[in-house]
């Protein structure tokens, strides 16, 4: 690349800066910026780094809590106290656009990035989860993306040796061409060895550590802050390649280095690479920083300062080391065969100064890049599609002639059927902590040398959010919490990844605001503060924006893992109980989409007070050892939930007979496949039933006896009339093989 002679209107526009923003830059510098400085401003002020459109809205989130050690936004990830002197660091991040262009490497580097966010805080990463969205599996391009993304996650996570213990996958027309790849990483750290992403203490040394710098990912942050177009493939040279082996060395070296006590602060070079890591650490430390980029290890010849500062080459970090301790640090990096070069010093003048040898190539007040970045309150307008979309006329929907056929069709829908083809490609056992393997309500990982276990669930329903972003946002939190409750964990806090279209479109921004408000209220009610997250805008393909898709990652804690609860039925003769009594709805349901090809109506309603009581009740029952299984009713409704209870344990399939007595007026399709909130299916031995009833009554949670575990069939009757009667081996086979079959076409 060559430096342009003069900065003109064209160049400013190409950097995604408005005329007003450019004026603001001039004011901050009290002069015209040079090309390198313009580049630095453009990435730091990009949506991706500055959160300029979302910042004001995200303030609605509750962030405080008695066990929150580091609040959202203060560091690269939130920190939650789990007792025993330990804390959990966790965060979720998106890599949607890179994965649309190059699914394998895009997803792989997404995994690499979020892992660095965790271990640079001093935590050892113990689990990964992935939340994925694709266009329909019937579309060859979507299958190509699915294979690539799953392969990339597997490549990176398996090699570095962090188990991918669960996730979720959903297929819908709206994600065609713009898949979502959200990855969560969780690490554990001793409370007293948390490392901050801060550069402070004049004279301390700034180290560049890891891979050398190339032109890859140039301008990635601004790329993520733009819509995908048919031209996007021309952005190709910016594709980054993941190197999980290098990252493994970085991980081990970093944790070893932290134990020596010479580290002042540390940050990963993620989006906007060297620029953002230096600027953000200096800003948090209220310091300045001076670096000499002639010392930066380079992979390519002839790179200009602009390119070095904006490169997003992977597997690089910035480490601030106490002065006079440099040799100690170097020794450890050398042991792990890593590049580690002192490139500069922390200063006290609040200026970010970049030199190349003796020549100053950029000099910018740090705060002008961070705290003083532009912030916007974007226009909002209720989307016009809603009125039509919310209006579902039930009487126009024909009742299915053969309800059992409908059951089989839903069971084999890619959204419902087993995701084994995906999670068997992930090493989900490395670390020997995974005590509940993937395929269940939550992933559960024990904490060695304690009796504790951590449960995590990722949830978000784009269809619900499309039909009602506020309810959809609430439901994402409630469902994630319910999922960790079902394994016996107490929900503690969330992280999130908010995936939306273009924020300057008032209808999109309205969706965004409503979703955030929904998440916020649910987090308040359920007392699970938001510890951090990530916003991904500009998720659009030529056909329009994706459905609004906020993903919630819920952290739950089990104090004694001998009380782990699993979702599958266990014993012949156990009673099957429905806990909770929400209002069923077929609006936005899998049934409506799969059978009637409609995305209409209203999502199920969620009453947060009831939800909280339900979760409290379920936890109490599990902790008292009164139930043998717990599984929440979600996608696909009651019939699918019951089927899952029968087949989730492959080694021991077991049938059930259900008699639905009430709900007489309800249509059979709603009864079986209507979706609902605040309901959990439990099973228990008959002698425990009275105690369970007592506890439910005390907590004012409704409870219904549905039937009995046993036999070789799943039989669902309504007032004695058989609606479904099917062999569980067959049910299992259909559920287990449907997705694989479609992928392998």
């Amino acid at each position: 690349m060559r430096e342009p002679e003069k900065i003109d209107a064209e160049i400013i526009k190409d950097h995604g800066l408005t005329v007003e923003e450019y004026e603001k830059i001039k004011k901050a510098l009290k002069r015209e910026p040079n090309f390198t400085e313009l580049g630095i401003f453009s990435v730091m002020w990009s949506e991706h780094c500055s959160y300029k459109s979302s910042k004001l809205i995200l303030k609605k989130f509750p962030t405080k809590g008695s066990n929150i050690l580091v609040e959202a936004g203060k560091e690269n990830a939130g920190v939650v106290d789990i007792g025993d002197g330990l804390a959990v660091v966790f965060k979720m991040e998106s890599h949607n656009h890179p994965s649309a262009i190059e699914p394998f490497q895009g997803a792989a580097t997404g995994v690499g990035g979020i892992i660095r966010d965790i271990f640079t805080m001093g935590a050892r990463p113990v689990l990964l989860m992935d939340s994925l969205r694709f266009g329909p599996v019937s579309d060859p391009k979507s299958r190509y993306l699915l294979r690539g993304v799953v392969g990339g996650i597997a490549f990176y996570g398996n090699c570095i040796g962090i188990p991918t213990v669960g996730g979720e996958t959903f297929f819908d027309e709206s994600y065609k061409g713009n898949p979502l790849v959200n990855v969560l990483c969780l690490g554990i750290v001793k409370k007293n060895s948390i490392i901050k992403a801060k550069a402070e203490g004049e004279g301390n040394t700034i180290f560049y550590v890891g891979s050398s710098t190339g032109r890859d990912g140039l301008g990635g942050a601004s790329f993520a802050s733009r819509e995908l177009t048919d031209e996007s493939h021309k952005d190709r040279p910016s594709v980054q390649i993941g190197d999980p082996f290098m990252e493994k060395l970085l991980l081990e070296a970093t944790l070893e280095l932290i134990r020596t006590g010479v580290v002042v602060g540390m940050q990963d070079m993620g989006a906007a690479g060297l620029t953002s890591s230096t600027v953000e650490t200096a800003s948090r430390g209220n310091s300045g920083a001076q670096i000499d980029i002639s010392r930066v290890p380079r992979r390519e010849k002839g790179m200009i300062p602009y390119e070095v500062m904006l490169s997003e080459s992977q597997e690089r970090m910035l480490v601030v080391v106490k002065k006079n301790k440099e040799e100690e640090a170097k020794k450890i990096f050398k042991k792990w065969d890593l590049n580690a070069v002192p490139i500069g010093k922390v200063t006290s003048d609040g200026v970010f100064k970049v030199k190349e040898g003796e020549k100053v190539v950029a000099s910018i007040p740090v705060k002008s890049l961070t705290d003083d970045a532009p912030i916007y309150l974007r226009e909002r307008a209720k989307p016009k599609y809603l009125e039509e979309a919310n209006n579902l006329d039930l009487s126009s929907l024909p009742l299915p002639e053969n309800i059992e056929k409908v059951f089989v069709k839903i069971l084999s829908s890619p959204n419902i059927s087993s995701k084994r083809w995906i999670f068997e490609q992930y090493d989900h056992m490395v670390g020997t902590n995974t005590i509940l393997l993937p395929g269940h309500d939550s992933a559960v990982v024990r904490v060695k040398e304690t009796r504790k276990a951590i449960a995590v669930s990722c949830d978000g329903n784009g269809r619900y959010c499309y039909l009602d972003p506020y309810e959809g946002g609430k439901i994402a939190v409630a469902e994630a919490a319910r999922n960790v409750v079902c394994v016996g964990a107490k929900p503690l806090a969330i992280t999130n990844c908010l995936n939306f279209g273009t924020p300057t479109d008032p209808e999109i921004f309205w969706q965004f605001t409503k979703c955030v408000e929904g998440i916020a209220i649910a987090c308040r009610e359920l007392e699970t503060p938001v510890t951090g997250g990530n916003v991904s805008f500009y998720n659009e393909n030529p056909q329009g924006a994706i459905d609004p898709t906020p993903i919630v990652g819920m952290l739950g804690l089990i104090n004694d893992f001998s009380f782990l609860c699993t979702p599958w039925f266990k014993k012949e003769g156990d009673l099957i109980i429905l806990l909770g009594n929400g209002e069923k709805s077929i609006g936005g349901s899998e049934y409506l989409q799969c059978i009637h090809q409609l995305k209409k109506g209203r999502p199920p309603e969620l009453d947060l007070t009831t939800e909280k009581l339900l979760q409290k009740t379920c936890l109490e029952l599990i902790k008292k050892g009164l139930v043998n299984s717990a599984h929440d009713v979600s996608d696909g409704g009651l019939a699918i939930c019951l089927a899952e209870c029968c087949i989730l344990n492959r080694e021991n399939l077991i049938g059930a007979t259900i008699n639905l007595e009430r709900d007489i007026d309800e249509r059979e399709d709603i009864l079986l496949f209507g979706e609902v909130q605040s309901q959990i299916i439990l099973s228990c031995s008959p002698q425990n039933f009275p105690y369970i009833e007592k506890i439910a009554n005390k907590n004012k949670i409704s409870l219904k006896l549905l039937g009995k575990v046993g036999g070789e069939n799943l039989i669902i009757k309504k007032e004695g009339k058989v609606l479904i009667s099917k062999n569980i081996k067959e049910i299992h086979k259909i559920w287990e093989n449907s997705l694989v079959k479609e992928i392998k076409i």
């Binding site: 398996n158 040796g161 190197d243 082996f245 090493d427 490395v430 005590i435």
Partner: protein
């Protein structure tokens, strides 16, 4: 009695092995950095799973040149017990300590899941507490576990009872369907002629505690301890 777990750059089951051996045997377990040249004081050396050198080039191809490998060769020649698990097995193959090579899994995908294994030989120091034909439940996690060797070597392996584990189904039958990676004759683990070097793709350290869903891996660690005890008694 002392176990040593080698750490290569990119090993990632090192700590898991350390933990499992410690939990099961209570014996001393130390880590051995791959550049270490002194392994005199160990009784059993474990080459753990993972992705040494990222599995770049070929699995195990670069790790076999680590300085510690020459020492391990000598250690094995003296009759010391060496067990290579997953990537450790692949390194033993590349280093020529065991015969054969690994190819990509038949379905060309990484696979992580529980498998069933049949114990084919229980008169080795690693398997002496099993019963011949015993069926085990043990997880695998690899991309290249598709064992291959030519007919010549295969007949030698058979003749010397060097095939230790085979993949099978719940009932112990060897079927195409239950062979998770396409391995020749469903081979999951082999040892050398002298029976003091074992290589296996399944992970015993991942099933050495009840909380993890299977304890079948425990028996391997216990067998090793038994064998070492016998040997030490012999010495005295």
């Amino acid at each position: 009695m002392k176990f040593g777990v080698v750490i290569f750059p990119g090993s990632n089951c090192d700590y898991d092995c350390w933990w499992a051996i410690k939990q099961v045997t209570g014996e001393r377990v130390d880590f051995i950095w791959h550049k270490e040249k002194n392994i005199e004081n160990f009784d059993c050396i474990v080459l753990p799973g993972g992705f040494s050198y990222g599995d770049y080039l070929r699995t195990g191809a670069i790790a076999r040149f680590s300085p510690v490998m020459r020492k391990i060769k000598e250690f094995a020649q003296r009759g010391g017990l060496v067990i290579g698990i997953c990537n450790g097995f692949q390194i033993l193959l590349e280093a020529g300590l065991l015969p054969g090579a690994m190819r990509k899994n038949k379905n060309l995908l990484f696979v992580c899941k529980y498998t069933y294994l049949r114990v084919e030989n229980c008169s080795t120091p690693f398997t002496r507490l099993f019963k011949r034909g015993q069926i085990l439940r043990m997880p695998i996690a690899h991309f290249e576990g598709n064992y291959y060797t030519d007919q010549d070597v295969l007949s030698k392996l058979k003749k010397n009872n060097q095939i230790i584990f085979r993949y099978c189904n719940r009932k112990g039958e060897i079927t195409e369907e239950d062979n998770p990676n396409g391995s020749l004759e469903a081979i999951a683990g082999i040892c050398n002629k002298e029976k003091n070097i074992l290589g296996m793709m399944p992970h015993p350290e991942r099933c050495s505690e009840a909380i993890l869903g299977s304890e079948d891996g425990k028996i391997i660690w216990e067998s090793i301890v038994e064998s070492l005890k016998d040997r030490n008694r012999g010495k005295k």
